[in-house]
Amino acid sequence: MEKIVLPDIKDFHLIDVYVNNGGYSAAKKAFGQTPDDIIDQVKKSGLRGRGGAAFSAGLKWSFMPKTTDKPKYLCINGDESEPGSFKDRQIFEFNPHQLIEGILIAAYAIHAKITYVYIRGEYHKWVKLFQKALDDAYAAGYVGDKMKDTFGTDFSVNIYVHKGAGAYICGEESSLMNSIEGKRGYPRVKPPFPAQNGLWGCPTTINNVETITNVPPIINKGWEWFSKIGEPKHPGTLLFGVSGHVNKPGVYELPSGVLLTDLIYNIAGGVPGNKKILCVIPGGSSMPPLRGDQLEGVKMDAESLKAAGSSIGTGGVMVMDEDTDLVKVLARISKFYHHESCGQCTPCREGTGWLQKTLDRIARGEGSTKDLDLLISIASNIEGNTICALGEAAAWPVRFTVTRFRDYFEARVGKSVELPVANKVHSMRHTAIPLAEIKN
């Protein structure tokens, strides 16, 4: 299978290798066409955002106003802080130039002269790796003022890295913009949307790292080619980060629509000890979990997962075997969202705290059946009542886990059982693969 985002080419992260393999030719091709043509091709390709909401990239670009004197901005979202997500760091490390080339094309399409690449603060190493690639691209004249000579075009764009500092909420697009502006990372009330009122009140487009890395091949090989890969309604390949109880955790690039069971059992090597699967979260920790007996036939793309009662999210597949203490897992997830709530909206700020407290109580064996209904009620009161989608991100896992695993939770309330959740340190060591090999 051909890989689009993380191709199997040795040293592809080096500018010379990238250029020798046709790198930066898509940008040149794009600059020979009109921005509207580019938007049209990306629309027709069916490319959908890889940052969580799976929104059409071309359509998003088309929202940028055409008649305005204000500067326009592109922001690349590399905040990657959703538990279970670890794909964008692979792009920073193994294919940074394709991301840079994608930025050139996207910026051209939306008339942006400045792009900020927001990278989470903890990714010190990947900030450095990406900055090195960016410096090389500047030196070679592919970015910045020299573009005019290199590509023979009037268009030029500057690309700057903005490093986060440890706040999950800054992955939310309006919070990300406030963070770049030097403010606390509070999400903004929408509307107005970023295309109208983004960075410094100017039209702004925000896209995920993986989304933009798909763009150069689409321009080079054509939208028809791309639209035929994987599931027609969500075409292309996706980077799946598989973690938890599998023999070969890692990031795998596969066509959309791959069977979840194939991904777990064939690609990621199955479950250690051939244990049964209790639960899978298919798209990062804020997405509804699936029961082990719900996995058969589930395909990994936005539409199929929606039909199965979950969501593709960021493609972070978290696998839990039958010995997992799901109450502790859910309590840990709730602790995360409580910690990361920015505190602007009462339902989110207070609700996430109650969720955590109630789940901790159940985990200690001091819960009662009433607590299960209480959890559902708290979750429902958060959903739809907040400024940003962190509210849903906190509520969904609770509501869906408690509903889908009702028996499990009922058996658990009132009883304190020591299920071994964290006993895997020694048993699985031989299977974990080093970072450098993940790509294969």
Partner: protein, 160 residues
Amino acid sequence: MEFKFTEENLKKIEEVLKKYPEKKPAVMPVLYIAQEQNGFISGEAMAEVASVLEMTKEDVLGVVTFYTMFHQKPVGKYHLQVCTNVSCMLRGGYRIYDYVREKLKIENGGLTEDNLFSLEEVECMGSCGTAPMIAVNEDFYENLDLEKVDQILESLKQKN
């Protein structure tokens, strides 16, 4: 303690300012520079950042307190960040965390008496596929077991 940026760092700040149409957006990168120079972000450092960027001290404080990676008190020479979020938890993250706590006899947010190690329980670091993990300052150590944790702590102690 008084805080003034070094000449070298003032030059770095000048470079940073070129990225943005105004001064305020430079607050995060400039706070990083202050933290690197001072070890943590003191009240004096915040005042200096505010003056360099023409912001109010309150605005700078607001930013510092919003982000977990800006430290308002000293951390150890080696700041250990152990992830206990789900993917790590499933592969022994809490075993690692508890082990480090017991071994160094410090709790979350604590600092050893010799100022060598500080400990922080952190949220997902993007190492879920190579879990469990500890970050030591800026470096990630992944695919850990207790034996490897021992080796890491020993080698850091040896360096001093």
